[in-house]
Structures are given as C-alpha cells and as structure tokens.
C-alpha cells in the first residue's frame, strides 16, 4: 500500500441480472452505436496529406543563389560533420566562362549523399558556411536497388526553374542560432 494504487478485488457472486448478460450486452452495443457518430480518426492519405512539422528533416537540396549559380564550394565541412559518413564529394576549380554556373572559384564536380547511410540529423546543414545544403520537407522516394539510393548532383541540386522553398525550416530560432558567434551547444566548453 505504499503507492495507494493497489486495487482491492471484490469477488462477489453475480446477481441474476448480471448472469443474464443481456444488460451488459445492450450497454456494450450502445457504446458501439455511439461510436458511429464519433469523429473519424482516419486521414484519407492520398486526398488529404498531413503537413510535416516545421522542423521536419527530409530529402536534402543543394541550393542555388539568386543568379542561379550553385552555392556549394566543396569545402567538405558537411562531409566532416556527417556522423553517418554519407556524404562524398570531389572539388574542382571553376574555369573561365563558368561564372554563371558556380558562385565561387571552387565547386563540387561530384557530390553524393548515400540516402541509406544518411540519418537525417541535419548536421550538414548546420555545418555549411555557404547556406548551400538544406534538409527539406520532402521524403526520399522508395526504390528497388541499393545503388539508386546514392543521390548525385542530378537529384540533389535544385532545378533553376523549380527553386525549392526551404524557408519553412528557417525559423527565427534557427536564424538566430546561425548568427550566434558562440553557439549554445559550445558554451559549456567556454566555461560560460
């Protein structure tokens, strides 16, 4: 009786009315009948999609800048930050005449994310100094072969005519966090 939660079981003989079971059956049937008028819990999926949470981390996108040039400079910070080691890239130098394609002198000629390794933690996004990689509210489509889950630049870089809106994840908290010179999670090392 320490918690006062124990129930005392009374084992009494059932009365005649209870032994008939019919009142119990009727009350049970009333309950199921009432449920006919309850609100349905079903979400009719293909017709009706539930919105993702604002912090949902799904399929990555490599952003372009306002002129349509790729923002990524292949610095490799995302690959270093990645705990699952899902990101691989090869850096290359921008040639003359490619200024419209790549924002800075260096760019990633190959950039792959293995979607089977990725744990969608969002550390790549956090590490990126160029605001190039973002996790979006899209999901990774299902495939039949393992190879097809290695997403190259063809799938990751956004199309020029179809920019992908990543503002949903850029909440005020996230923006403040990014401008903070001493990020919250590093403060403990500085003794603050």
């Amino acid at each position: 009786m320490l918690t006062n939660r124990s129930k005392i079981v009374v084992k009494k003989e059932m009365s005649f009315l209870e032994k008939l079971w019919i009142p119990a059956i009727l009350s049970g049937m009333m309950i199921t009948f009432k449920h006919i008028f309850y609100k349905k819990a079903t979400v009719r999926y293909p017709d009706q999609k539930r919105p993702f949470a604002p912090v949902y981390r799904g399929l990555h996108v490599l952003k372009r800048d306002e002129n349509g040039a790729e923002r990524c400079t292949a610095c490799g910070l995302c690959a270093v930050a990645c705990p699952a080691e899902a990101i691989t890239m090869i850096a290359d130098e921008r040639q003359k005449g490619e200024e419209a394609l790549y924002r800075e002198e260096k760019y990633a000629s190959m950039y792959e994310i293995n979607m089977l390794r990725c744990i969608f933690c969002g550390l790549c996004e956090e590490a990126c100094p160029k605001e190039a990689i973002f996790l979006t509210d899209r999901t990774v489509p299902s495939e039949f072969l393992r190879e097809t889950f290695i997403f190259g630049k063809d799938k990751l870089v956004e199309k020029i005519d179809q920019p992908i809106d990543v503002r949903i994840r850029q909440t005020q908290d996230v923006l403040e966090f990014k401008t903070d010179p001493v990020p919250l999670h590093n403060q403990m090392y500085n003794g603050q």
Partner: protein, 347 residues
Amino acid sequence: MTGFLIYKIVIVVIVFAMALVIAMYSTYAERKVSAVMQDRVGPNRAGPFGLLQPLADGLKMFMKEEIIPNVANKWLFILGPCIAMLTACMTAVVIPFGSGLVFDGQLYPMQITDINIGVLYLFGVVSIGVYGIMIGGWASNNKYSLLGALRASSQMISYEIAMGLAIIALIMTTGTLSLSEIAKQQDAGFANVVYQPLGFLIFLICAFAETNRAPFDLPECETELIGGYHTEYSSMKLGFYLFAEYINMFISSAILATLYFGGYNFPFQHEVQEFLGLGQNAFALLQTVLLFGKIFFFIFFFMWVRWTIPRFRYDQLMHLGWRILLPLSFLNIVLTGLGMWATGQLH
C-alpha cells in the same frame, strides 16, 4: 399457363437477383459498419463512397489462382461450396415479400412458392447448409479444416434444436407452418414478438449460431484453426463460402422479420392505405419496402453484434446451447401452452 410460367420465372429471377445483390452489398455494409463503429472510414476508393467495392472484391476472387490440394477429394472439395451456396439461395423461396400484386383481376402473391410446410422446408434446407461446410472441411484432408468443420456441425446441430423448439412455440400460437399464413395472421393482431418474446430471443441467438456469425463464429478462427473449414479453399470457391454466409444472414433477417415482426405488415397499414388512397399494387410495394426496412435493420443488427461482442469459448458455446437455450425453449413451450389454455385458445 404461359402467364403462370412467366410470372414464376419473373419472380424467381427477381428474388434471386435481390438476394445476391443484397448479399453483395452486405459485404460492403459489413466493412462500413465495422469501420464507423471503430471510428474509421471504411472502403471509399472504388467508386463514390466505395460503392463499387463488392464488384472489385468479386473480380479479385475470380482472378485468384484456383488451388485444389493433391490429397483432397476433388469432387467433394468442389461440392462443398456448391452446397453452401445452393442451400443459402434455396431458402429465399418461401419468404413472402408482400401481400400480392393484382394484374387483370388476378392476384399474384409476392412469394416464389407458398408451400404449407414452409417453416419445415426452411429448417430442412438450412440443415443441409451445414453439409456444405462439413463436406468442404472433410474433403480438404487437412486437420484444421476438419476441426473447423467439426465445430461448425456440432454447433449447428446443438443450436438447431433450440431454434426448432422456439419455432414450435410460435407454431402453437399460429397453428400453421405456412410462412404466408403466419405473415397474414399478423395483419389482424399484433406482431408475434408480442406473444413470443422469449421465443424471439432464443430464435435470434440461434440465428446467430446458424449463420456462423460472431459471437458464434467458431468454425472460422485464424488463431486456432488457421482459417477453419475453408483453410484450403481459394479463389471463387472461398468466395462462395463467404458469400453464402451473407446470403444466410439476409435470409435469417427475412425469416426473423416474417415470423416475429409482422413480415410485410406494418402497424395501421389499412388506415395508411385508406389515408393515402393506394391501390393494391402500390400498397403491396409499400409493404415490400417496409419489409426490406426490417430486413436491413436485422442485417445491421447482425453486424452491430459482431463488432460489439467478443466470441465465446467453445465450451461456453456448447453450455449456452444445451444447458441454457434448450431448457429455456422447453420452458417457452410450456408457458405458451399454459397461456393458450388460460385464454382458451387451444386448437
């Protein structure tokens, strides 16, 4: 003679088509009723509100591979679902669906055939229904099928007795075995349920057991018997078994409505007829519509019970059948006799 033949052919086609369509949409209704009782939506993809779902299910059943086990007795294996389906359809023959249509001054009863032992015929045919399950389970040559078939037959036999005795009490008051006579008698007086409340309750419970519906659906049982008597069945032969259950449910509802709830009669029907100024034909159709209202209510009731009450354990089932319902139905007969003796109605 030709007129008679045409009339019979037309009514047979109408009644069977109706029974099949209603059974088809009972499968849909079952899924919808179970869904709304569990706060779900139910089938809604095939057609508006999922109304084409039964057709899709039927198509699926036809498209499935048909497997006959090597060790099965082939002919009996095929015979099983045929008997189940045939007997389910045959029972619709004696149910009166209305007081009759008049053409050229001649009355055409809305009943395929009015045999004077209608109730006996019903019992005979329904008891053959168990052979479908038993033969199917036996011919499968599979222990689970056999166990399911055993359960089905012992359950049906034990409940049929109580059911028959409940009907005997009813027949004592009506004095006839013809279903159309029984329906006609309820036009003059009250519905039989007023005179036979206990008999109605016994009959209702037994009807659940006879149609193998929950809470008496022990012959089919995934956890204990894999599938029960239809474990080895596939394709449309399985469909026949499942379909026969729904036809049986429709027939049981029709019988319940006819025997105990006034059949096609409804309260103050002649006043209503006079008030609306209906001719015999329009009146008979109105009766039919209301009879179907009663039948649909009972079908809903069958489903309602199925999605409310957990099933019995097998020994509880037998206990209920032999030790409770059987003595109760004897008691019912005695009480009916005493009541008739007291009111001086003994024939």
